[in-house]
């Protein structure tokens, strides 16, 4: 009976060790935080689109230059939304101010999407042609449907 328990204990230990080793090895490519402190999504972009170090550096610089522009659009959009919400709460009927707020929201959204598309084309140009096409497909899907579903159905 003692031998049986020893064998069973060994079997459990071997199973657990093989599980953890294999899981760790399989998840080695999954990076939550990059060593240089950049966001994890850029590390994912590097892995997903097989970027070379030179391509990654270019895209990282583009991304950092785009962030303030994006933040500016975001701030303008939030302000326009806030203004519209205030008007809708305060007024009981239609007013030109509400129309102006809606126009401002649409204008900011359009400018934001135009800037994003310019950024995306520049980023895609840094990639290999095939990966660039796949990247732009992801952006197009996001613009049209809001989700990156098509890109995820075609894994790298």
């Amino acid at each position: 009976m003692k031998k049986l328990f020893i064998v069973l204990g060994l079997a459990v230990a071997v199973g657990l060790v093989s599980y953890f080793c294999c899981y760790r090895h399989a998840m080695a490519s999954v990076v939550a935080v990059t060593p240089d402190g950049t966001d994890a999504e850029l590390a994912w972009l590097k892995h997903e689109f097989a970027l070379t170090p030179a391509q990654y550096e270019k895209i990282l610089a583009l991304h950092r230059a785009y962030q303030p522009v994006c933040a500016g659009h975001c701030a303008r959009y939030m302000a326009a939304r806030q203004r519209l919400e205030t008007l809708l709460k305060e007024q009981q009927g239609w007013s030109p101010d509400e129309g102006a707020a809606l126009d401002e929201i649409a204008r900011v959204r359009s400018e934001c999407h135009q800037a994003m598309l310019r950024y995306a084309y520049t980023v895609a140009a840094c990639m290999s042609p095939e990966e660039g096409r796949r990247y732009l497909q992801m952006i197009d899907t996001r613009l049209l449907s809001g989700e990156p579903a098509d890109m995820m159905a075609n894994p790298h």
Binding site: M1, K3, L4, I6, V7, L10, A11, V12, V14, G15, L16, V17, S18, Y19, F20, C21, C22, Y23, A26, M27, S29, V30, D39, A40, E41, L42, W44, L45, E48, H63, Y66, Q67, C70, H73, C74, Y77, M78, R81, L88, K89, V108, R109, C112, H113, M116, Y119, A120, M138, I139, R142, L143, G146, E147, P148, M151, M152, P155
Partner: protein, 138 residues
């Protein structure tokens, strides 16, 4: 199993009884009836009768669930610790652990890819993210 009966004729064959053929037959019948009345069968069991009965009882027990469990328990205690079976068990658990880890890692990687893609797109297009999140009503 029944003992073989043998009857000896009260008169030798061929000798005519004094009362003729019919009286001889009647006498034989009476003797037969008398013999049958007093006859007590005393069968003797086959030599391996008891052994055969116990063998059949054991076979019936083996066919039941308890028999299977008992044999499995015996096998686990006696056979499994032997090097050949123990090695096979360790190999099987190692393969099982590896297979489960690969499956779970595959699901985790897929989830990570989806989340990372969504985070990246949110970082370059926050307006779409804000518009897609539910807002409080007026």
């Amino acid at each position: 199993m029944f003992p073989r009966l043998s009857f000896s004729s009260p008169t030798p064959p061929g000798s005519a009884p004094p009362g003729g053929p019919n009286s001889n037959s009647m006498q034989t019948d009476e003797k037969l009836q008398q013999t049958l009345r007093v006859w007590q069968p005393s069968p003797s069991a086959a030599p391996d009768f008891n052994h055969a009965v116990w063998r059949r009882v054991a076979a019936e027990e083996d066919r039941g669930l308890s028999g299977v469990l008992a044999r499995l328990g015996d096998w686990l205690v006696v056979q499994l610790p032997r090097p050949a079976y123990a090695s096979a068990l360790l190999l099987a658990t190692a393969l099982l652990g590896t297979a489960v880890a690969r499956l779970e890692a595959s699901h985790a990687r897929e989830h990570y890819r989806e989340q990372s893609a969504r985070r990246y797109l949110d970082s370059i297009d926050p307006i779409s993210m804000m518009e897609s999140t539910p807002r409080s009503t007026r």
